[in-house]
């Protein structure tokens, strides 16, 4: 047996153990992170009385699904979910489109006061939404959009953050690309949709997810701008459920599961893009 093979074996063994170690650690961490989600699902399937039992039940021996129908019908989660979908869809599409157009203008077009305008865009990032909420409510009311989908969505159709993100992404495209496209007879419009946007796909995906999450999780604005249950969104429904009486805890958990499912689906689809979008800037010099 040569020295080399001993070393190789030791190295191999170390690698295996290293892998075992890191997988164990990751498993433990995953269990810790996933446990609250797991227990939420379990509790939504238990009768209310058993949720309070000690020690707590970790597995529903006799799962019951009536909490979901209760949350859906009595708790109006069905209506709220529909409203959330409509509003979130409008906001996400609106934000992505306006961000692409504004980001493109800041990256590729020359126009007067470009720098100043861009700084103004950035400055809006520093004004928290809460500060402008009262003026926004009166503006929307004056426009006659109180208690409408327009009132829920329009204030969020464009964001400084989105424009900034897309501009930064477009700036990483080499200028030669624009020149080459121009030689091929591409105008701004075709260059934007055929070349720039496909190349900036990670940023678009990241923005989509951010916009979706932010819109989906909105609470105060939908509460302020709606009059009654017909137009309210899923987070309001969840808060209403949360404050419900103690003998209906399973309905609260069911509502939470209903509210979170769309987000989980979204993340499953966009995970790769999202991670790429977030790390895209990290490796560029």
């Amino acid at each position: 047996m040569t020295v080399d093979t001993v070393d190789a074996r030791a190295l191999h063994r170390r690698r295996v153990w290293g892998k075992v170690g890191s997988y164990t650690l990751l498993t433990v961490l995953a269990v810790i992170v996933l446990f609250p989600i797991y227990i939420t699902v379990v509790n939504s399937l238990l009768p209310s009385r058993e949720i309070l039992s000690q020690p707590p039940k970790l597995f529903p021996s006799n799962p019951q699904f009536n909490a979901y129908s209760d949350a859906w019908n009595v708790g109006h989660m069905g209506t709220y979910l529909k409203n959330s979908f409509i509003v979130t869809f409008l906001i996400t599409v609106g934000q992505v489109v306006t961000a692409i157009l504004a980001g493109y203008a800041f990256a590729f077009l020359e126009f007067p006061f470009k720098r100043l305008l861009f700084v103004v865009f950035l400055a809006t990032l520093m004004v928290p939404f809460e500060v402008t909420i009262v003026t926004n409510v009166s503006t929307i009311s004056d426009l006659g959009w109180y208690n409408t989908y327009a009132g829920l969505a329009v204030p969020f159709l464009a964001t400084g953050f989105g424009a900034f993100l897309m501009r930064q992404s477009f700036l990483t495209l080499p200028a030669e690309l624009r020149d080459a496209a121009a030689l091929d007879g591409y105008g701004h419009w075709r260059f934007l949709w055929r070349v720039a946007v496909p190349l900036a796909r990670p940023a678009v995906a990241a923005l989509t997810v951010f916009a979706f999450l932010a819109a989906w999780n909105q609470y105060l604005w939908p509460l302020l701008i709606t009059k009654d249950d017909k137009l309210r969104t899923v987070q309001i429904g969840l808060k209403q459920l949360q404050q419900s009486s103690i003998d209906q805890l399973n309905i609260v958990f069911a509502g939470a599961v209903i509210a979170v499912i769309p987000l989980v689906i979204l993340l499953l689809f966009f995970q790769k893009q999202l991670v790429r979008g977030l790390t895209a800037g990290a490796v560029k010099g």
Binding site: R49, V131, T135, S138, S141
Partner: protein
């Protein structure tokens, strides 16, 4: 970044901020001094009014039933209830509505929002309508009407009322050799009981919520003022006066309880707000002070049959000082305001509905259905209420407590605009005492200073 672009950023931020922050020019608003009772007769019927409330589930159901019965009983007024989820949300939405005009005809707020609501200048005071209508509040508990009377005007209609009580585990008391039917009545007895319980193996006998309202209640129970100008009832308050012998005594008492391991604190806000109850359930606590509004929930949990080691006892909140309590507790809960931005006929309709909600029979239904206190003497003495209390004596404790002791300006409780900030100052001081070991005297002095600063800031902001 170059100097030029830094300046650009600053200019841009200021420009954006100015655009966004500038409030709509404040319209001159004043609370009504007359009540348009006659307008209801002339209006075309039914007059439709909206009430914003934050009663959920069981409580919301009772309110809805009362409202449905009202709508069915007559053709002049039709009330629509709109649930605004919570009291914070309701106030936020009301404030936003001040500039947009989307306001209800009646709004339910938390008791501590009273001064802020008065300062919006959008109230039709209940007292004004009562006078115009020759309606008497004499059947109402004096402690309740006095809480809602500021500078001689009763602004709100009292509605959902609760009070702080002592929750304790009778079985733990018995095991420690304490008489389970004789719970502590003052803070030194409470400490003595805690020592015995601890000796008998209860880890931290008291769950002590860092709820700033305790200091307010203990101050009132000693018949002392919490804020100057008669607790803000003779004139707008300009400073707090709770840094008193009583205040210092309760702060030292709390610090001692925590330091000696007799009490464990938990926050009154956020996710830990029920830890004091959970501690009783897990056996690490045997006592806690909390609102009587929690009684229904607590009874439901403990009654589910999972907790053989717990038998719930409810007693009046132990006060500072020994012997007879010199003061009394003030009311907690919520109240109803009529809004003067509504058309006169709607204001008159709102008054009709409030009278209906607070009628003796409906107050009885409300109290039995929700666990809130009946706030009229005739409701409390009604056969239904007496029968209910005979079966559920725990629900009577907070009521008895509310009618005990003198009705004074001290037991009326304080009325303060920036209540959230004042309570925040007290909570911060308590936490610095519990977590950093700040001296109780220094802690309460800091609380008083910060609370007074918040009051002055508020007063200057609204131009008072």
């Amino acid at each position: 970044m170059t100097i030029r672009s830094t300046r650009l950023v600053i200019v841009a931020i200021l420009a954006t901020a100015a655009l966004g922050v500038l409030p709509a020019s404040p319209a001159f608003a004043a609370n009504s001094t007359s009540c348009p009772l006659g307008a209801l007769k002339k209006a075309s019927k039914p007059v439709e009014i909206t009430m914003w409330h934050w009663m959920l589930r069981a409580n919301g159901d009772v309110l809805q039933k009362l409202t449905d019965a009202f709508n069915a009983s007559q053709k002049n007024v039709k009330v629509t209830l709109v649930n605004q989820v919570g009291w914070e949300e309701t106030l936020a939405k009301y404030k936003a509505g001040l500039s947009s005009g989307d306001l209800p005809d009646i709004v339910q707020l938390q008791e501590t929002d009273q001064q802020q609501m008065i300062d919006t200048g959008t109230v039709v005071p209940a007292g004004v309508c009562a006078k115009a209508d020759k309606y008497s509040f004499s059947d109402f508990l004096p402690r309740v009407t006095s809480y809602f009377t500021v500078e001689g005007v009763q602004y709100a209609m009292p509605f959902n009322t609760s009070g702080p009580v002592l929750y304790y585990n009778k079985k733990a008391f018995a095991a420690a050799g304490l008489d389970p039917e004789k719970p502590p009545t003052n803070l030194s007895e409470l400490r003595a009981a805690a020592e015995k319980l601890k000796a008998n193996g209860v880890a931290t006998p008291m769950g002590l919520k860092t709820d700033p309202i305790f200091l307010e209640q203990w101050t009132a129970m000693s018949n002392r003022l919490f804020a100057n100008n008669g607790n803000g009832r003779k004139a707008r308050t300009t400073k707090t006066v709770f840094d008193s012998p009583v205040g210092r005594q309760v702060f030292s008492w709390m610090a001692g309880m925590v330091k000696d391991g007799l009490a464990e604190t938990n926050s009154d806000i956020g996710t830990g707000a029920s830890d004091n109850f959970l501690g009783i359930r897990s056996g690490s606590h045997a006592m806690t002070i909390d609102s009587s509004a929690a009684l229904g929930t607590v009874t439901a949990i403990l009654g589910a049959g999972n907790d053989p080691n717990i038998e719930l006892g409810v007693a009046p909140m132990p006060g500072p000082g020994s012997g007879a309590i010199r003061g009394g507790v003030f009311v907690q809960g919520g109240e109803l305001f009529m809004v003067n931005k509504s058309a006169p006929a709607k204001q008159a309709a709102a008054w009709e509905f409030l009278k209906y909600l607070d009628s003796p029979e409906n107050m009885t239904t409300w109290a039995i259905g929700t666990g809130y206190l009946p706030i009229r003497k005739s409701s409390a003495s009604s056969t239904e209420m007496q029968d209910y209390w005979a079966k559920n004596p725990d629900f009577k404790v907070a009521y008895d407590q509310l009618v005990n002791g003198p009705d004074s300006i001290a037991t009326a409780g304080s009325v303060i605009g920036p209540n959230t900030e004042v309570r925040g100052a007290v909570r911060d001081a308590e936490n610095s005492m519990f977590l950093e070991g700040t001296d109780p005297k220094a802690a309460i002095a800091a609380a008083a200073k910060n609370a007074t600063a918040a009051i002055l800031d508020y007063n200057s902001r609204i131009g008072a």
